[in-house]
Symmetry: C2
Subunit: 276 residues, 2 copies
């Protein structure tokens, strides 16, 4: 199989490495952007050749869109003339806007996938060979896909050791909001709160595991995350409201010195260890 | 040196293991609580002998208080008759209330220390030999200590590979609030938000690194953390206000679809990677 990957950062680059590891590909193509970027992805052995988009479309059996979620939607018009046997898969963190924007002409070819895995790092040098192993990938609205294309993508994800879950895109966006987008928003807010108040030396000296873990995803790419927040705005606003209710609750209990109730609220949060 | 440790959980138990590793002790004593607890700390080799408090006071050159911050204050009256050469050190996460509660009689013997390290785990089985290595320990209001006691404690912390920082207890409590207590409060709130909204199966299936990291400290002991929140209430309320301002900011920008401003706010949070 020949695979063309648009976007060779953490997600796309790691997929390239996994496809090679599991011998799923004869060729991997990247799309030309700049001389420097081309050199980097060739040096890192993420691709065999860098082509222009027309060559990539012609030569690829599978095209992977591993760019930010707004750019995926912008890219779609360039893919309308693909061959009937060419499969497209996107790896975006939102699914409803993307899938609602796929024209019927290529809808059966286009698989919407969200690998539930990430780090705060980005760019080709962030790519890791075993990044996807033992992780979950959510496939959305697959009733719109032909079994030819769907099976090709499912085969790839299961071969690289991922667990596949089917979900409709609206449900996906709600779950992804609570399990990923809301935590990212909170991490950005915590990082800004602390950096506004604390000097850099104190941050370095006094940061222990708790703060380090909770502020880690605030180091994620803003240009990637602004598009996710934009596309999942309604769900994110709703989840922010629910989270603020919890913050108001702790604040009120502290103000009123209702420590027994506060401890019960913490015990409830504590039951998470039975799940995760 | 003979060391008595009151509280042999993550903090006290790990200190026992570090004291043995660096050959700083001839004997480690624990304080009797129940037959089961006594057996556990002996089986884990955290102590050589379990004594009652009077025996422990008589035999120990150094007494370590590694219990929850309210219990430290409750314990102090039992230590008023220590020998003039006996040192006491507490490892609590708050410092001002504790140090303000030490009677003058033993004030020069009593070192207030906060090791800036932790995990969500608790109890004797959570103890780890190299837990403290390469971490920071804050010593507070040390102008109240005699150099005899202070040097004994500093020597221990530096031998077990900790970096020592001096700070006054009011400043400590503010820094510890922003760098640790606020992040814990947020984690409890996030865990409750997600568990109220999401079913356990979705949480297990869809939790990636971001949520796992951000909810980890919500698994911390509520009985330990309620005392910290109580003792650092005023600072915590102030930090919660500042954090809520940040949450209101993101919410307003999302509502008004001011994405450029929102991205700039995220870029500001993103600069954390230059510090940590």
């Amino acid at each position: 199989m020949r695979v063309g990957i648009i976007g060779l950062g953490l997600m796309g680059g790691s997929l390239a490495l996994a496809l090679r590891k599991y011998k799923l590909v004869s060729k991997i193509y990247g799309c030309f952007r700049s001389v420097k970027q081309t050199k980097e992805v060739l040096d890192l052995n993420l691709v065999d050749e860098v082509l222009n988009i027309d060559e990539l479309k012609e030569k690829s059996d599978l095209i992977v869109l591993a760019i930010s979620v707004d750019k995926i939607i912008e890219y779609i018009p360039k893919l309308l003339d693909i061959n009937i046997n060419t499969t497209i898969v996107d790896l975006g963190s939102t699914k409803k806007s993307i899938l609602d924007n796929i024209p019927l002409k290529i809808r059966s070819n286009f698989i919407g996938a969200h690998p539930m895995v990430g780090t705060e790092k980005s760019g080709p040098s962030a790519a890791i060979e075993n990044f996807y192993e033992n992780s979950v990938v959510v496939l959305c609205d697959t009733n719109m896909n032909s079994s030819y294309h769907l099976n090709r993508v499912k085969n790839i994800f299961s071969t690289i050791q991922m667990k596949i879950i089917d979900m409709n895109s609206s449900q996906h966006d709600i779950h992804a909001c609570f399990m990923s987008h809301l935590p990212h928003a909170i991490s950005f807010a915590l990082a800004n709160t602390v950096m506004n108040h604390e000097d850099p030396i104190s941050i370095v000296q006094l940061a222990a595991g708790g703060f380090k873990d909770m502020s880690r995803v605030a180091k994620s790419s803003p240009s990637m995350w602004i598009d996710i927040f934009k596309q999942n705005r309604d769900n994110l606003l709703e989840s922010l409201d629910l989270f603020k209710n919890q913050m108001n609750f702790i604040q009120t209990l502290l103000e009123d010195e209702k420590y027994d109730e506060l401890e019960n609220w913490m015990k409830k949060a504590n039951t998470l260890h039975k799940i995760l």
